[in-house]
Amino acid sequence: MLYIIPISLEQGLAYALVALGIALTFRILAFPDLTVDGSFPLGGAVAARLIFDGVDPVTSTLIAMSAGFIAGCLTGIFATKFKINSLLAGILMMTILYSVNLRIMGRANIPLLNRSTLFTTIETWDISRDIPVIIFFLVVAALCKILIDVFLHTEYGLALRATGDNEQMIRSLGVNTDTATIFGLGLSNTMVALAGALIAQDQGFSDVGMGIGMIVAGLASIIIGEALFKPTTVVRLTFAAVIGSVVYRFIIALGMRLGLAPTDLKMATGLMVVIALAIPAIRGKREKKLKLRGV
């Protein structure tokens, strides 16, 4: 039973980057960006292909991040410059990326056996791989969290937050909110692609289907984190996203331990999000009814 703790910690911290990216778009920018399901495998595809072809893992990871940035910016351009509905813009980009990812990889799956990845050094150490890998992902997640926190308190970061809070107001103060949206989406998908690149290297392969359900899982993480911490500031929101991701992976591992089939996971996660979103609506309805009755 205890063995699910290290695996959920490792996965939770790795996928925390996705949760942070989604928090930035859904919560800060108020832009429901669905690019994530495509930019996550994009990060994996670019990194795996480059590493497979002999490029060093650090460079490969950085290029994967840039690919994610470009993908996010394109979604932003679809939505702001071409006036495409934001949900549709993300779906379009996600669909386009499916083909792009297959092109990049040249096939549906690239194994990284016998290739040097970011984790190769760790694997030569004479200890269990678990703890150093957990520490690695903890440092990366913490670094990303802090960088976002700092950025969102800079002059431009404030403008980006206001874009999601009161777009008309910040435009009247001289900010091109189209640019802010495009940049915010780029930044979010940079982190998501970084997650894809790191997770592909960690698990030793990249697969074109590895992004399916990524948004829903990320949303579930954020909702869990928000339920636990009720964040009112940016610093607490990003914290909630990271912890929520870990708790989410723990719940999933627990569910599987209790007999949930891996194929049922997406349904379980989806229902979790539906229930979390339904509670306030149902509660609101009940209160309305009570009010009408004069209670």
Binding site: Y156, L158, A159, A162, N166, M169, I170, S172, V175
Partner: protein
């Protein structure tokens, strides 16, 4: 005129052109605004008041005509670029501030109106100290609530904060869009007094749209009445001071319907 701060030359804006709902919101509209003019603007619903402010602020692009601020042609500037010259306070207190962000963050964003925003820290210690001093002017106790989100404030507090925000980076032209209409009468009077003292103190060139005729006559040095996208009456100085609500109604009662009369 050389000392004009704002000039509108033959501006026309037609909505739903070519359809049954076609509406000339501004019709060959011209207006010259001198530096430090405080103009109140009245007119019935659909007279073109809001379209006029939108055109000046760059929120809508005029179909024809020219817009000049401080000698510079700004006709085709988008709203976020116009922010260099213009500051605007909206009717709803929620529109002028970001509710989920703190008071100090809102002040910081306003201070940077129309300026380049980089990756420098936003609310620095220096700024915070200054904001505290400035907020004391409002006498609302906001100086002790810098880190609270603006959404926690009442409508009157929020609108007072918005007004203060416009003066952090002085605009060439201040647009007030019925900015007291959503407040209760007592708060509205307080916010209006604050407005008047800020405009005088900073000699701001101001255009204030209002539905309240008493307000339109009491404040400012010039009053413009709009009707069907055109200037119907333009009085200033002594002439404006002598004008009474009764006279306006006697002369223009036919065209001034709805709440302009009701609130007179």
């Amino acid at each position: 005129m050389a000392d004009n701060m704002l000039t509108l030359k033959k501006i026309t804006k037609i909505f739903n052109q070519g359809t049954q709902d076609e509406k000339r919101a501004l019709d060959n509209f011209s207006l010259e605004v001198a530096k430090s003019d405080f103009i109140t603007i009245i007119g019935s619903n659909g007279a073109g008041k809001t379209t006029l402010l939108n055109a000046i602020a760059g929120t809508i692009a005029p179909d024809e005509g020219q817009l000049i601020v401080h000698g510079q042609d700004v006709t085709r500037w988008p709203d976020f670029k116009m922010a260099r010259h213009i500051s605007r306070v909206f009717q709803s207190p929620t529109m002028g501030t970001a509710g989920e962000m703190t008071i100090e963050e809102n002040l910081c964003m306003a201070e940077l109106r129309g300026k380049k925003r980089g990756l420098k820290w936003g609310v620095t210690g220096n700024r915070r100290t200054r904001y505290k001093e400035i907020l004391k002017v409002l006498d609302l106790g906001l100086e002790d609530r810098l880190k609270q989100s603006v959404g926690m404030l009442s409508g009157g507090q929020r609108q007072s904060l918005t007004l203060l925000m416009t003066t952090l980076a002085l605009p060439r032209v201040l647009l007030l869009d019925e900015h007291t209409a959503a407040l209760d009468p007592r708060t509205a009077a307080k916010v209006m007094d604050l407005t008047d003292s800020m405009v005088r103190e900073n000699k701001l060139t101001t255009l204030m749209v209002t539905h309240n005729m008493n307000q339109a006559l009491k404040y400012g040095n010039r009053m413009v009445m709009l009707h069907q996208g055109k200037v119907q009456l333009d009085i200033q100085g002594e002439e404006k001071k002598k004008m009474t609500v009764a006279e306006i109604i006697a002369e223009f009662g036919q065209t001034l319907k709805d709440e302009t009369l009701l609130s007179a």
